[in-house]
Symmetry: C2
Protein backbone atom coordinates (compact mmCIF):
# COMPACT_ATOMS: atom_id res chain seq x y z
CA UNK A 1 0.00 0.00 0.00
CA UNK A 2 1.30 3.44 -0.91
CA UNK A 3 2.59 5.71 1.85
CA UNK A 4 0.01 8.16 3.15
CA UNK A 5 0.63 11.60 1.63
CA UNK A 6 -0.17 14.77 3.60
CA UNK A 7 -0.60 18.10 1.83
CA UNK A 8 -0.93 18.92 -1.87
CA UNK A 9 -0.82 16.23 -4.56
CA UNK A 10 1.26 17.35 -7.55
CA UNK A 11 -0.80 17.70 -10.74
CA UNK A 12 -4.13 18.28 -8.96
CA UNK A 13 -4.47 21.96 -8.03
CA UNK A 14 -7.28 23.44 -5.95
CA UNK A 15 -10.50 23.48 -8.00
CA UNK A 16 -9.83 20.20 -9.84
CA UNK A 17 -13.14 18.39 -10.38
CA UNK A 18 -13.86 14.67 -10.60
CA UNK A 19 -16.99 13.02 -12.00
CA UNK A 20 -16.97 10.24 -9.39
CA UNK A 21 -15.16 8.59 -6.46
CA UNK A 22 -13.14 6.37 -8.80
CA UNK A 23 -11.53 9.39 -10.48
CA UNK A 24 -10.94 10.96 -7.07
CA UNK A 25 -9.29 7.74 -5.87
CA UNK A 26 -7.00 7.54 -8.91
CA UNK A 27 -5.76 11.10 -8.38
CA UNK A 28 -4.53 10.29 -4.88
CA UNK A 29 -6.47 13.25 -3.47
CA UNK A 30 -8.76 10.88 -1.51
CA UNK A 31 -8.06 7.14 -1.65
CA UNK A 32 -11.07 5.44 -0.04
CA UNK A 33 -13.85 4.68 -2.53
CA UNK A 34 -16.58 4.95 0.11
CA UNK A 35 -15.50 6.45 3.44
CA UNK A 36 -15.57 10.17 4.08
CA UNK A 37 -12.27 10.16 6.04
CA UNK A 38 -8.94 8.86 4.76
CA UNK A 39 -6.51 8.19 7.58
CA UNK A 40 -5.55 6.16 10.63
CA UNK A 41 -5.38 6.95 14.32
CA UNK A 42 -1.61 6.45 14.27
CA UNK A 43 -0.84 8.65 11.26
CA UNK A 44 -3.68 11.17 11.19
CA UNK A 45 -6.19 11.97 8.43
CA UNK A 46 -4.88 13.11 5.05
CA UNK A 47 -8.22 13.90 3.37
CA UNK A 48 -11.99 14.09 3.85
CA UNK A 49 -15.01 14.31 1.57
CA UNK A 50 -17.75 16.71 2.65
CA UNK A 51 -20.88 15.68 0.85
CA UNK A 52 -23.71 16.51 3.16
CA UNK A 53 -24.43 13.01 4.40
CA UNK A 54 -24.60 14.13 8.00
CA UNK A 55 -27.49 16.11 9.44
CA UNK A 56 -25.25 17.95 11.92
CA UNK A 57 -22.60 19.18 9.43
CA UNK A 58 -22.20 22.89 8.75
CA UNK A 59 -20.24 24.57 5.97
CA UNK A 60 -19.19 28.24 6.22
CA UNK A 61 -16.73 28.08 3.31
CA UNK A 62 -13.58 28.90 5.24
CA UNK A 63 -14.78 26.90 8.25
CA UNK A 64 -16.36 23.45 8.16
CA UNK A 65 -17.93 21.69 11.14
CA UNK A 66 -17.60 18.05 10.20
CA UNK A 67 -19.09 14.92 11.73
CA UNK A 68 -18.03 11.44 10.73
CA UNK A 69 -20.44 8.59 10.09
CA UNK A 70 -19.66 6.22 12.98
CA UNK A 71 -22.63 4.78 14.83
CA UNK A 72 -24.86 4.80 11.75
CA UNK A 73 -27.05 1.95 10.59
CA UNK A 74 -25.46 0.74 7.33
CA UNK A 75 -28.90 0.25 5.76
CA UNK A 76 -30.69 3.47 6.62
CA UNK A 77 -27.74 5.78 7.44
CA UNK A 78 -29.57 6.75 10.64
CA UNK A 79 -27.50 7.10 13.79
CA UNK A 80 -28.26 4.25 16.18
CA UNK A 81 -25.35 4.40 18.68
CA UNK A 82 -22.89 6.81 20.34
CA UNK A 83 -19.76 7.57 18.29
CA UNK A 84 -16.36 6.82 19.78
CA UNK A 85 -13.04 8.58 19.31
CA UNK A 86 -11.55 5.61 17.45
CA UNK A 87 -10.48 4.69 13.90
CA UNK A 88 -11.47 7.51 11.47
CA UNK A 89 -12.57 9.91 14.21
CA UNK A 90 -9.26 9.33 15.96
CA UNK A 91 -7.47 10.02 12.65
CA UNK A 92 -9.01 13.52 12.49
CA UNK A 93 -8.23 14.12 16.18
CA UNK A 94 -4.61 13.11 15.54
CA UNK A 95 -4.45 15.59 12.63
CA UNK A 96 -5.62 18.31 15.03
CA UNK A 97 -3.04 17.31 17.63
CA UNK A 98 -0.15 17.20 15.17
CA UNK A 99 -1.26 20.17 13.04
CA UNK A 100 -1.35 18.10 9.84
CA UNK A 101 -3.02 19.56 6.73
CA UNK A 102 -6.16 17.77 5.52
CA UNK A 103 -7.22 17.82 1.86
CA UNK A 104 -10.89 18.79 1.64
CA UNK A 105 -13.11 17.56 -1.18
CA UNK A 106 -16.63 18.91 -1.52
CA UNK A 107 -19.25 16.80 -3.24
CA UNK A 108 -22.66 17.54 -4.73
CA UNK A 109 -25.15 17.04 -1.93
CA UNK A 110 -23.19 19.16 0.54
CA UNK A 111 -24.27 22.63 1.62
CA UNK A 112 -25.49 24.26 -1.63
CA UNK A 113 -23.72 27.54 -0.75
CA UNK A 114 -20.25 26.04 -1.38
CA UNK A 115 -20.68 22.63 -3.02
CA UNK A 116 -20.33 21.75 -6.71
CA UNK A 117 -23.57 21.17 -8.62
CA UNK A 118 -22.38 17.69 -9.62
CA UNK A 119 -19.44 15.36 -8.96
CA UNK A 120 -16.60 16.21 -6.57
CA UNK A 121 -14.19 19.15 -6.29
CA UNK A 122 -10.83 19.37 -4.52
CA UNK A 123 -10.96 22.55 -2.41
CA UNK A 124 -7.44 22.65 -0.90
CA UNK A 125 -5.93 22.28 2.56
CA UNK A 126 -7.66 22.80 5.89
CA UNK A 127 -6.43 22.37 9.46
CA UNK A 128 -8.44 20.66 12.20
CA UNK A 129 -8.48 23.43 14.79
CA UNK A 130 -10.41 21.58 17.46
CA UNK A 131 -12.80 18.73 18.10
CA UNK A 132 -15.41 17.90 20.70
CA UNK A 133 -18.19 15.56 21.68
CA UNK A 134 -21.86 16.51 21.84
CA UNK A 135 -25.36 15.12 21.49
CA UNK A 136 -26.39 15.03 17.83
CA UNK A 137 -29.90 15.60 16.52
CA UNK A 138 -30.43 11.84 16.83
CA UNK A 139 -29.92 11.98 20.60
CA UNK A 140 -26.71 9.92 20.35
CA UNK A 141 -23.23 11.28 21.05
CA UNK A 142 -21.22 12.45 18.07
CA UNK A 143 -17.68 13.78 17.64
CA UNK A 144 -17.41 17.00 15.69
CA UNK A 145 -14.34 18.54 14.05
CA UNK A 146 -13.84 22.18 13.18
CA UNK A 147 -11.71 22.56 10.04
CA UNK A 148 -10.31 25.96 9.11
CA UNK A 149 -8.95 26.86 5.68
CA UNK A 150 -5.14 27.05 5.44
CA UNK A 151 -4.41 30.77 4.70
CA UNK A 152 -2.99 30.23 1.19
CA UNK A 153 -5.97 28.05 0.16
CA UNK A 154 -8.55 30.12 -1.77
CA UNK A 155 -12.10 30.49 -0.48
CA UNK A 156 -14.34 27.92 -2.25
CA UNK A 157 -16.46 29.41 -5.07
CA UNK A 158 -19.80 30.50 -3.62
CA UNK A 159 -23.04 29.51 -5.30
CA UNK A 160 -24.40 32.65 -7.05
CA UNK A 161 -27.85 32.02 -5.51
CA UNK A 162 -26.45 32.12 -1.96
CA UNK A 163 -26.66 35.43 -0.04
CA UNK A 164 -23.71 37.72 -0.85
CA UNK A 165 -20.94 37.76 1.77
CA UNK A 166 -19.85 41.05 3.38
CA UNK A 167 -17.58 43.24 1.23
CA UNK A 168 -13.82 42.71 1.48
CA UNK A 169 -13.11 46.12 3.07
CA UNK A 170 -15.46 45.42 5.96
CA UNK A 171 -14.01 41.96 6.40
CA UNK A 172 -10.42 43.28 6.62
CA UNK A 173 -11.46 45.87 9.19
CA UNK A 174 -13.10 43.21 11.33
CA UNK A 175 -10.08 40.95 11.08
CA UNK A 176 -7.73 43.79 12.01
CA UNK A 177 -9.81 44.73 15.03
CA UNK A 178 -10.04 41.13 16.15
CA UNK A 179 -6.30 40.55 15.86
CA UNK A 180 -5.46 43.73 17.79
CA UNK A 181 -7.91 42.91 20.55
CA UNK A 182 -6.76 39.33 20.86
CA UNK A 183 -3.06 40.29 20.92
CA UNK A 184 -3.59 42.89 23.64
CA UNK A 185 -5.65 40.54 25.83
CA UNK A 186 -3.25 37.63 25.46
CA UNK A 187 -0.36 39.92 26.35
CA UNK A 188 -2.32 41.10 29.39
CA UNK A 189 -3.20 37.63 30.69
CA UNK A 190 0.46 36.62 30.50
CA UNK A 191 1.59 39.72 32.36
CA UNK A 192 -1.08 39.30 35.05
CA UNK A 193 0.34 35.84 35.77
CA UNK A 194 3.96 36.92 35.26
CA UNK A 195 4.23 34.22 32.56
CA UNK A 196 3.60 31.45 35.11
CA UNK A 197 1.40 28.52 34.05
CA UNK A 198 -1.89 28.45 35.96
CA UNK A 199 -1.80 24.65 35.99
CA UNK A 200 1.80 23.69 36.83
CA UNK A 201 3.38 27.00 37.93
CA UNK A 202 6.22 26.71 35.42
CA UNK A 203 7.74 29.84 33.84
CA UNK A 204 9.75 29.20 30.68
CA UNK A 205 12.86 31.35 30.26
CA UNK A 206 14.34 32.15 26.85
CA UNK A 207 16.82 34.62 25.38
CA UNK A 208 13.86 36.83 24.40
CA UNK A 209 12.34 36.80 27.90
CA UNK A 210 9.76 34.58 29.60
CA UNK A 211 7.31 32.56 27.52
CA UNK A 212 3.71 31.55 28.16
CA UNK A 213 0.55 31.16 26.09
CA UNK A 214 -2.92 32.64 26.38
CA UNK A 215 -5.45 29.82 26.06
CA UNK A 216 -9.12 30.44 25.29
CA UNK A 217 -11.35 28.28 27.48
CA UNK A 218 -14.38 28.37 25.19
CA UNK A 219 -12.78 28.60 21.73
CA UNK A 220 -13.23 31.68 19.54
CA UNK A 221 -14.87 31.39 16.13
CA UNK A 222 -17.75 29.37 14.73
CA UNK A 223 -19.40 27.28 16.04
CA UNK A 224 -18.16 27.86 19.61
CA UNK A 225 -18.22 31.67 19.46
CA UNK A 226 -16.43 32.02 22.79
CA UNK A 227 -15.86 35.67 23.77
CA UNK A 228 -12.44 37.32 23.58
CA UNK A 229 -12.35 38.49 27.21
CA UNK A 230 -9.97 37.91 30.13
CA UNK A 231 -12.57 35.74 31.93
CA UNK A 232 -12.36 33.31 28.99
CA UNK A 233 -8.55 33.08 29.06
CA UNK A 234 -5.96 31.09 30.97
CA UNK A 235 -2.20 31.64 31.14
CA UNK A 236 -0.64 28.24 30.37
CA UNK A 237 2.72 26.72 29.49
CA UNK A 238 2.66 25.03 26.06
CA UNK A 239 2.55 21.54 27.61
CA UNK A 240 -0.58 22.28 29.62
CA UNK A 241 -2.05 24.21 26.69
CA UNK A 242 -1.86 21.04 24.58
CA UNK A 243 -3.38 19.00 27.43
CA UNK A 244 -6.16 21.55 27.92
CA UNK A 245 -7.06 21.88 24.22
CA UNK A 246 -7.05 18.14 23.56
CA UNK A 247 -8.91 16.79 26.56
CA UNK A 248 -5.90 15.74 28.67
CA UNK A 249 -7.12 17.96 31.53
CA UNK A 250 -10.33 19.77 32.47
CA UNK A 251 -11.03 22.27 35.25
CA UNK A 252 -13.84 21.83 37.75
CA UNK A 253 -16.07 24.58 39.13
CA UNK A 254 -14.00 24.61 42.35
CA UNK A 255 -10.89 25.20 40.11
CA UNK A 256 -9.52 21.68 40.67
CA UNK A 257 -7.44 20.48 37.73
CA UNK A 258 -8.70 17.02 36.70
CA UNK A 259 -6.86 14.44 34.61
CA UNK A 260 -8.55 12.56 31.76
CA UNK A 261 -8.98 9.55 34.09
CA UNK A 262 -10.84 11.70 36.65
CA UNK A 263 -7.98 12.10 39.15
CA UNK A 264 -7.57 15.52 40.73
CA UNK A 265 -3.98 16.60 40.07
CA UNK A 266 -3.96 20.08 41.56
CA UNK A 267 -5.67 23.44 41.79
CA UNK A 268 -5.71 26.24 39.22
CA UNK A 269 -3.38 29.05 40.29
CA UNK A 270 -5.11 32.40 40.49
CA UNK A 271 -4.15 36.06 40.90
CA UNK A 272 -6.41 38.79 42.35
CA UNK A 273 -6.93 40.67 39.07
CA UNK A 274 -8.00 37.70 36.98
CA UNK A 275 -11.07 35.58 37.59
CA UNK A 276 -12.26 32.81 35.31
CA UNK A 277 -15.91 32.54 34.28
CA UNK A 278 -17.27 29.12 35.28
CA UNK A 279 -19.70 28.99 32.34
CA UNK A 280 -16.69 28.74 30.03
CA UNK A 281 -15.04 26.05 32.17
CA UNK A 282 -18.26 24.04 31.93
CA UNK A 283 -18.35 24.52 28.14
CA UNK A 284 -14.79 23.19 27.97
CA UNK A 285 -15.53 20.18 30.21
CA UNK A 286 -18.55 19.24 28.08
CA UNK A 287 -16.37 19.15 24.96
CA UNK A 288 -14.72 16.00 26.30
CA UNK A 289 -17.41 14.51 28.58
CA UNK A 290 -20.89 15.77 27.74
CA UNK A 291 -22.52 13.61 30.46
Amino acid sequence: MAERVFGEIAGFPVGTTFPDRRGLHDSGIHRPLQGGISGSGREGADSIVVSGGYEDDRDFGDVIVYTSHGGNDPETGKQIADQELTVRNLALAKSALDGLPVRVVRGAGGDPAYSPASGLRYDGLYFVEDYWQEKGKSGFLIWRFRLVKEPATPQPPANPDAPAPAGPALRIDTLVQRLIRSTVLIQKIKELHDYRCQVCGERIETSAGPYAEGAHIRPLGKPHDGPDVLENLLCLCPNDHVRFDFGGIVIDDDLSVINADGTKIGALRTVPKHSVNKTYLKYHRRRFSPA
Copy 2:
Protein backbone atom coordinates in the same frame (compact mmCIF):
# COMPACT_ATOMS: atom_id res chain seq x y z
CA MET B 1 0.94 57.46 22.04
CA ALA B 2 -1.27 55.18 19.96
CA GLU B 3 -1.47 51.51 20.83
CA ARG B 4 0.92 49.34 18.87
CA VAL B 5 -0.99 47.56 16.08
CA PHE B 6 0.06 44.08 14.90
CA GLY B 7 -1.04 42.76 11.52
CA GLU B 8 -2.69 44.53 8.59
CA ILE B 9 -3.57 48.23 8.68
CA ALA B 10 -7.00 48.86 7.15
CA GLY B 11 -6.85 50.98 4.00
CA PHE B 12 -3.23 50.07 3.11
CA PRO B 13 -3.20 46.77 1.21
CA VAL B 14 -0.05 44.88 0.21
CA GLY B 15 1.71 46.73 -2.62
CA THR B 16 0.86 50.25 -1.37
CA THR B 17 3.78 52.57 -2.14
CA PHE B 18 5.00 55.66 -0.29
CA PRO B 19 7.30 58.37 -1.63
CA ASP B 20 9.04 58.83 1.74
CA ARG B 21 9.22 57.89 5.45
CA ARG B 22 6.77 60.66 6.37
CA GLY B 23 4.02 59.13 4.22
CA LEU B 24 4.87 55.69 5.61
CA HIS B 25 4.64 57.06 9.15
CA ASP B 26 1.25 58.69 8.52
CA SER B 27 -0.22 55.43 7.19
CA GLY B 28 0.56 53.62 10.44
CA ILE B 29 2.34 50.86 8.52
CA HIS B 30 5.68 51.84 10.10
CA ARG B 31 5.72 54.63 12.70
CA PRO B 32 9.40 55.47 13.30
CA LEU B 33 10.73 58.13 10.94
CA GLN B 34 14.27 56.78 11.08
CA GLY B 35 14.66 53.35 12.69
CA GLY B 36 14.35 50.14 10.72
CA ILE B 37 12.47 48.33 13.50
CA SER B 38 9.24 49.49 15.13
CA GLY B 39 8.64 47.77 18.46
CA SER B 40 9.65 47.19 22.04
CA GLY B 41 11.13 44.25 23.90
CA ARG B 42 7.99 43.96 26.00
CA GLU B 43 5.45 44.03 23.14
CA GLY B 44 7.39 42.71 20.14
CA ALA B 45 8.06 44.31 16.75
CA ASP B 46 5.10 45.31 14.60
CA SER B 47 7.02 46.41 11.46
CA ILE B 48 10.43 46.68 9.83
CA VAL B 49 11.88 48.50 6.85
CA VAL B 50 14.30 46.52 4.68
CA SER B 51 16.30 49.02 2.71
CA GLY B 52 19.69 47.47 2.25
CA GLY B 53 21.55 49.47 4.86
CA TYR B 54 23.20 46.41 6.28
CA GLU B 55 26.00 44.57 4.54
CA ASP B 56 24.96 41.19 5.97
CA ASP B 57 21.26 41.33 4.94
CA ARG B 58 19.89 38.86 2.40
CA ASP B 59 16.56 38.97 0.57
CA PHE B 60 15.10 35.85 -1.08
CA GLY B 61 11.62 37.34 -1.58
CA ASP B 62 9.68 34.90 0.60
CA VAL B 63 12.53 34.75 3.13
CA ILE B 64 14.50 37.71 4.48
CA VAL B 65 17.60 37.48 6.65
CA TYR B 66 17.55 40.77 8.52
CA THR B 67 20.13 42.44 10.71
CA SER B 68 19.40 45.50 12.79
CA HIS B 69 21.69 48.51 13.04
CA GLY B 70 22.83 48.33 16.66
CA GLY B 71 26.53 48.80 17.28
CA ASN B 72 26.95 51.15 14.31
CA ASP B 73 28.79 54.44 14.32
CA PRO B 74 26.07 57.09 13.86
CA GLU B 75 28.34 59.12 11.56
CA THR B 76 29.69 56.47 9.20
CA GLY B 77 27.14 53.67 9.64
CA LYS B 78 30.06 51.26 10.12
CA GLN B 79 29.76 48.65 12.84
CA ILE B 80 32.10 49.44 15.73
CA ALA B 81 30.80 47.21 18.55
CA ASP B 82 29.04 43.90 19.25
CA GLN B 83 25.25 44.02 19.02
CA GLU B 84 23.19 43.01 22.03
CA LEU B 85 19.79 41.34 22.23
CA THR B 86 18.17 44.46 23.68
CA VAL B 87 15.72 47.18 22.60
CA ARG B 88 14.87 46.76 18.88
CA ASN B 89 16.68 43.44 18.50
CA LEU B 90 14.80 42.16 21.53
CA ALA B 91 11.55 43.37 19.94
CA LEU B 92 12.14 41.12 16.91
CA ALA B 93 13.14 38.21 19.17
CA LYS B 94 9.91 38.69 21.14
CA SER B 95 7.91 38.60 17.89
CA ALA B 96 9.57 35.28 17.08
CA LEU B 97 8.80 33.91 20.54
CA ASP B 98 5.16 34.99 20.50
CA GLY B 99 4.53 34.29 16.80
CA LEU B 100 3.46 37.88 16.08
CA PRO B 101 3.11 39.04 12.46
CA VAL B 102 5.56 41.74 11.33
CA ARG B 103 4.69 44.21 8.55
CA VAL B 104 7.55 44.29 6.05
CA VAL B 105 8.32 47.42 4.03
CA ARG B 106 10.93 47.26 1.28
CA GLY B 107 12.74 50.44 0.29
CA ALA B 108 14.80 51.45 -2.72
CA GLY B 109 18.37 50.53 -1.87
CA GLY B 110 17.48 47.00 -0.77
CA ASP B 111 18.28 43.91 -2.81
CA PRO B 112 17.47 44.96 -6.41
CA ALA B 113 15.76 41.61 -7.08
CA TYR B 114 12.77 42.47 -4.86
CA SER B 115 12.98 46.16 -3.93
CA PRO B 116 11.08 49.07 -5.46
CA ALA B 117 13.05 51.33 -7.82
CA SER B 118 12.18 54.35 -5.66
CA GLY B 119 10.41 55.14 -2.40
CA LEU B 120 8.98 52.47 -0.12
CA ARG B 121 6.50 49.63 -0.63
CA TYR B 122 4.43 47.72 1.93
CA ASP B 123 4.96 44.01 1.17
CA GLY B 124 2.66 42.34 3.72
CA LEU B 125 3.10 40.16 6.80
CA TYR B 126 6.07 37.99 7.69
CA PHE B 127 6.82 35.85 10.73
CA VAL B 128 10.18 35.81 12.51
CA GLU B 129 10.93 32.09 12.33
CA ASP B 130 14.22 32.19 14.21
CA TYR B 131 17.12 34.39 15.24
CA TRP B 132 20.74 33.87 16.09
CA GLN B 133 24.03 35.56 16.82
CA GLU B 134 27.07 35.43 14.56
CA LYS B 135 30.16 37.35 13.54
CA GLY B 136 29.29 39.91 10.87
CA LYS B 137 31.56 40.98 8.02
CA SER B 138 32.85 43.71 10.30
CA GLY B 139 34.21 41.15 12.78
CA PHE B 140 31.73 42.26 15.45
CA LEU B 141 28.85 40.13 16.71
CA ILE B 142 25.46 40.73 15.12
CA TRP B 143 21.97 39.33 15.73
CA ARG B 144 20.20 38.07 12.65
CA PHE B 145 16.52 37.36 12.14
CA ARG B 146 14.98 35.06 9.57
CA LEU B 147 11.60 36.34 8.41
CA VAL B 148 9.30 34.08 6.40
CA LYS B 149 6.32 35.30 4.38
CA GLU B 150 2.92 34.58 5.94
CA PRO B 151 1.24 32.11 3.51
CA ALA B 152 -1.58 34.45 2.38
CA THR B 153 0.90 37.31 1.69
CA PRO B 154 1.78 37.44 -2.03
CA GLN B 155 5.38 37.02 -3.19
CA PRO B 156 6.93 40.51 -3.75
CA PRO B 157 7.12 41.53 -7.41
CA ALA B 158 10.47 40.45 -8.82
CA ASN B 159 12.65 42.83 -10.79
CA PRO B 160 12.36 41.82 -14.48
CA ASP B 161 16.18 41.96 -14.80
CA ALA B 162 16.65 39.39 -12.03
CA PRO B 163 17.17 35.73 -13.07
CA ALA B 164 13.83 33.93 -13.60
CA PRO B 165 12.71 31.73 -10.70
CA ALA B 166 12.00 28.02 -11.26
CA GLY B 167 8.62 27.24 -12.89
CA PRO B 168 5.60 26.78 -10.61
CA ALA B 169 5.11 23.08 -11.44
CA LEU B 170 8.64 22.23 -10.33
CA ARG B 171 8.24 24.30 -7.19
CA ILE B 172 5.01 22.54 -6.17
CA ASP B 173 6.65 19.14 -6.68
CA THR B 174 9.57 20.11 -4.48
CA LEU B 175 7.28 21.45 -1.77
CA VAL B 176 5.18 18.30 -1.85
CA GLN B 177 8.23 16.05 -1.59
CA ARG B 178 9.64 18.12 1.25
CA LEU B 179 6.41 18.08 3.23
CA ILE B 180 6.00 14.31 2.84
CA ARG B 181 9.58 13.66 3.88
CA SER B 182 9.42 15.97 6.87
CA THR B 183 6.10 14.52 8.10
CA VAL B 184 7.38 10.95 7.87
CA LEU B 185 10.63 11.75 9.72
CA ILE B 186 8.95 13.73 12.47
CA GLN B 187 6.48 10.90 12.97
CA LYS B 188 9.41 8.48 13.13
CA ILE B 189 11.43 10.44 15.70
CA LYS B 190 8.39 10.65 17.97
CA GLU B 191 7.74 6.91 17.71
CA LEU B 192 11.40 6.04 18.33
CA HIS B 193 11.19 7.94 21.63
CA ASP B 194 7.64 6.76 22.38
CA TYR B 195 6.62 10.46 22.56
CA ARG B 196 8.90 11.05 25.55
CA CYS B 197 10.82 14.35 25.69
CA GLN B 198 14.57 13.83 25.31
CA VAL B 199 15.23 16.66 27.76
CA CYS B 200 12.73 16.17 30.62
CA GLY B 201 11.30 12.70 29.96
CA GLU B 202 7.71 13.94 30.00
CA ARG B 203 5.06 12.29 27.79
CA ILE B 204 1.94 14.37 27.24
CA GLU B 205 -1.33 12.42 27.15
CA THR B 206 -4.40 13.67 25.28
CA SER B 207 -7.69 12.26 24.04
CA ALA B 208 -6.06 11.75 20.62
CA GLY B 209 -3.06 9.88 22.03
CA PRO B 210 0.39 10.98 23.21
CA TYR B 211 1.86 14.28 22.01
CA ALA B 212 5.44 15.32 21.30
CA GLU B 213 7.22 17.50 18.75
CA GLY B 214 10.04 16.86 16.33
CA ALA B 215 12.60 19.67 16.68
CA HIS B 216 15.24 20.38 14.05
CA ILE B 217 18.60 21.06 15.68
CA ARG B 218 20.08 23.00 12.75
CA PRO B 219 16.99 24.68 11.26
CA LEU B 220 15.76 23.81 7.77
CA GLY B 221 15.57 26.48 5.07
CA LYS B 222 17.74 29.41 4.09
CA PRO B 223 20.18 30.48 5.42
CA HIS B 224 20.73 27.56 7.85
CA ASP B 225 19.98 24.80 5.34
CA GLY B 226 19.99 22.11 8.01
CA PRO B 227 19.30 18.64 6.59
CA ASP B 228 15.97 16.88 7.09
CA VAL B 229 17.43 13.70 8.61
CA LEU B 230 16.89 11.87 11.91
CA GLU B 231 20.39 12.86 13.12
CA ASN B 232 19.25 16.50 12.96
CA LEU B 233 16.06 15.92 14.98
CA LEU B 234 15.15 15.72 18.65
CA CYS B 235 11.92 14.50 20.20
CA LEU B 236 10.84 17.25 22.63
CA CYS B 237 7.85 18.32 24.68
CA PRO B 238 6.55 21.76 23.61
CA ASN B 239 8.05 23.45 26.69
CA ASP B 240 11.56 22.21 25.96
CA HIS B 241 11.03 22.87 22.24
CA VAL B 242 10.44 26.55 23.05
CA ARG B 243 13.51 26.59 25.32
CA PHE B 244 15.65 24.88 22.67
CA ASP B 245 14.57 27.12 19.77
CA PHE B 246 14.94 30.35 21.72
CA GLY B 247 18.24 29.83 23.51
CA GLY B 248 16.86 28.74 26.89
CA ILE B 249 18.88 25.51 26.66
CA VAL B 250 21.74 24.16 24.55
CA ILE B 251 23.22 20.66 24.35
CA ASP B 252 26.90 19.95 24.80
CA ASP B 253 28.97 17.42 22.84
CA ASP B 254 28.73 14.99 25.78
CA LEU B 255 24.90 15.37 25.55
CA SER B 256 24.62 17.42 28.76
CA VAL B 257 21.66 19.79 28.71
CA ILE B 258 22.90 23.28 29.66
CA ASN B 259 20.78 26.18 30.89
CA ALA B 260 21.20 29.70 29.51
CA ASP B 261 23.26 30.61 32.62
CA GLY B 262 25.69 27.73 31.95
CA THR B 263 24.38 25.31 34.60
CA LYS B 264 24.15 21.67 33.62
CA ILE B 265 20.55 20.60 34.26
CA GLY B 266 20.61 17.02 32.99
CA ALA B 267 21.55 14.65 30.19
CA LEU B 268 19.81 14.16 26.85
CA ARG B 269 17.82 10.92 26.85
CA THR B 270 18.76 8.59 24.04
CA VAL B 271 17.44 5.40 22.45
CA PRO B 272 19.57 2.86 20.53
CA LYS B 273 18.08 3.58 17.09
CA HIS B 274 18.56 7.35 17.18
CA SER B 275 21.87 9.15 17.40
CA VAL B 276 22.31 12.89 17.18
CA ASN B 277 24.98 14.42 14.96
CA LYS B 278 27.28 16.63 17.06
CA THR B 279 27.97 19.02 14.18
CA TYR B 280 24.33 20.11 14.37
CA LEU B 281 24.45 20.48 18.16
CA LYS B 282 27.46 22.75 17.73
CA TYR B 283 25.63 24.79 15.07
CA HIS B 284 22.75 25.23 17.51
CA ARG B 285 25.03 26.25 20.42
CA ARG B 286 26.75 28.84 18.24
CA ARG B 287 23.40 30.46 17.44
CA PHE B 288 23.23 31.69 21.03
CA SER B 289 26.89 31.88 22.06
CA PRO B 290 29.25 32.11 19.09
CA ALA B 291 32.32 32.30 21.35
